[in-house]
C-alpha cells in the first residue's frame, strides 16, 4: 500500500475495541492451551529428578539394589511404607534381561517393569508365578522378532516387550507379618541379569 488514502478514518467504535480485546484474549487462550499441552508432554522427557534418575542414583545398572526402608527421609516419595523395594536398572541394548525371583507363601511379591520415560508397562505378582518361581525375560521388539526367526523351538520363558530399551525393574515385597525387614528376605533371592 504505497499511497495512504486521504479519506478520514472512521473513529474506532467501542464495539471495535471489544472485538479487538476479545480476539486478543482468544489468542492468549489458544497460545496458553498449546503451551500447556506441550509442557505436560515434555515434562517426562525433561524432568531432571524423575523415578529413573533416582533409580540411577541408587542402583547401578544390572544389579539388584535393596532400598532402605521407607521413612521420613526416603529418596523415593509416595511409597507404601509397608513394602520392601528392590530396584534393578537395565539397558536392553546390551541384550535381553532375565528376571528371576523365588516365592515365599507368607510374602506377596510383585515385579513391575518401568520404561525410562515413566511408563509402567508390565506388572505381576507371585500369584502368576510358576512352580514357586517368577522367571521372565524383558526384550525389545527387535530382539523378540530376531529370536522368533532364529529359534525353531520357542522357549518356555515368559517374554515381555519393552517399549524403550532403557528402564528399571521394581521388586515389591509385602509380608503378612514381620514388616518390611521380613519382606526384604524374599528380595535377596531375586536376580536380574543381562
Amino acid at each position: 500500500m504505497p499511497e495512504t488514502p486521504a479519506v478520514p478514518r472512521a473513529r474506532r467504535s467501542v464495539a471495535d475495541h471489544l472485538v479487538g480485546l476479545g480476539l486478543s484474549l482468544a489468542a492468549v487462550f489458544v497460545v496458553a492451551g498449546i503451551v500447556h499441552i506441550v509442557s505436560i508432554l515434555l515434562i517426562p522427557m525433561l524432568a531432571p529428578n524423575d523415578a529413573f534418575a533416582r533409580v540411577s542414583a541408587l542402583a547401578p545398572p544390572g544389579t539388584l539394589t535393596l532400598l532402605p526402608p521407607a521413612g521420613p527421609a526416603s529418596p523415593v516419595p509416595f511409597r507404601d511404607p509397608a513394602v520392601a523395594v528392590a530396584l534393578c536398572r537395565y539397558d536392553l541394548r546390551t541384550g535381553p534381561l532375565r528376571v528371576t525371583a523365588s516365592i515365599d507363601e507368607q510374602i506377596m511379591l510383585a515385579v513391575s517393569f518401568h520404561s525410562r520415560r515413566g511408563r509402567p508397562f508390565y506388572g505381576l505378582t507371585d500369584r502368576s508365578g510358576n512352580e514357586g518361581k517368577i522367571d521372565l525375560v524383558v526384550m525389545t521388539a527387535e530382539q523378540i522378532a530376531k529370536l522368533d526367526t532364529e529359534d525353531e523351538d520357542p522357549l518356555r520363558e515368559v517374554r515381555i516387550e519393552a517399549p524403550e530399551p532403557e528402564g528399571f525393574v521394581e521388586f515389591d515385597a509385602l509380608a503378612r507379618t514381620g514388616g518390611p525387614e521380613r519382606a526384604a528376605d524374599v528380595l535377596r533371592s531375586a536376580q536380574c541379569k543381562v
Partner: protein, 230 residues
C-alpha cells in the same frame, strides 16, 4: 486484526507531510507505528499465553490435578496410571515427584487429601477410617506428608496392614488416624499442616481400567475432632 491495528495508529504525523518526496516517508511513518503496535500486541499475547500455559501446567503438577483421575468419596485414583496407557498428566506428575508408579498388575492406590466433609486432612485432627475395602489380597493404609514421605513419629509406625489390624466380630476394621495415642488400630500423625492418606490394594481385580470405578465402595474418612492449633 491488522485493520484494527491500522485504525488505531490513526492520523499519524507522517500523513501531513508533503506528498511528492514522501512516497517513502508516508509508507514508513504510519506503517512502522502500526508494525510496532502489532509487534507489541503479539509479544503480549505470546508472553501472556506462555505464562498462562506454564502456570496451568505448574498448578496441575504441584496439586496433582489430573483430568483422568476418578473420585470416589474422599478418595482419588488413576485407573490407567499403572499401565503403559498412563495418561500424560499422571506421567508428568510422577516425573516431577519422582515416585514409582504402582503397576496395575500389582495393585491400585487410592489417595485422599480431604475428609468426607471436604475439609483438608490436618495433622492436629483425629479421623476414623472405616467401612468396606474392595476385595484384595492385602491392603495398607498410610499417612504421608504432602511431599509423599512418611511422617516421623516416636512409635516408628507409618502404616496399618490388613493382615495385622484388629477386627470386630463381623471382620470389619476401624482405623484411627490421630496425633494422640489410641487403643486399637492407631496410625500416628505428627507435625503441623496437611497430610495425605494412601490406601494401597494388592492383587486386586480393580485397576487397569477393567472395572467400573464408580461402583466401588471405599472406607469413609470421618473427622472426630482436632487439638488446639497451639
Amino acid at each position: 486484526m491488522s485493520a484494527v491495528l491500522h485504525a488505531r495508529s490513526g492520523p499519524a504525523p507522517g500523513r501531513s507531510a508533503p506528498s511528492a518526496a514522501s512516497g517513502r516517508r508516508t509508507r514508513h511513518g504510519p506503517s512502522r507505528a502500526a508494525w510496532l503496535a502489532a509487534f507489541l500486541r503479539r509479544i503480549i499475547i505470546g508472553l501472556g499465553g506462555v505464562g498462562l500455559g506454564l502456570g496451568l501446567t505448574q498448578l496441575c503438577v504441584t496439586h496433582r490435578w489430573d483430568v483422568a483421575a476418578v473420585h470416589i468419596g474422599a478418595w482419588t485414583f488413576w485407573p490407567k496410571s499403572g499401565t503403559a496407557e498412563i495418561d500424560p498428566y499422571a506421567r508428568a506428575i510422577f516425573a516431577r515427584s519422582g515416585e514409582l508408579a504402582l503397576s496395575a498388575g500389582e495393585g491400585v492406590v487410592f489417595t485422599a487429601k480431604r475428609d468426607d466433609r471436604g475439609d483438608r486432612l490436618d495433622r492436629h485432627c483425629t479421623y476414623r477410617v472405616a467401612g468396606q475395602v474392595p476385595s484384595a489380597r492385602l491392603w495398607t493404609l498410610a499417612a504421608l506428608g504432602t511431599e509423599g514421605l512418611p511422617l516421623p513419629n516416636a512409635a516408628d509406625r507409618h502404616v496399618l496392614l490388613s493382615s495385622s489390624v484388629l477386627r470386630d466380630s463381623h471382620g470389619d476394621a476401624e482405623l484411627i488416624v490421630s496425633p494422640e495415642v489410641q487403643p486399637g488400630n492407631w496410625l500416628p500423625l505428627s507435625g503441623d499442616g496437611a497430610f495425605l492418606l494412601t490406601l494401597h490394594l494388592y492383587d486386586t481385580p480393580i485397576g487397569g481400567g477393567g472395572t467400573d470405578a464408580s461402583k466401588l465402595t471405599l472406607p469413609s474418612i470421618t473427622p472426630l475432632g482436632c487439638n488446639s492449633h497451639a
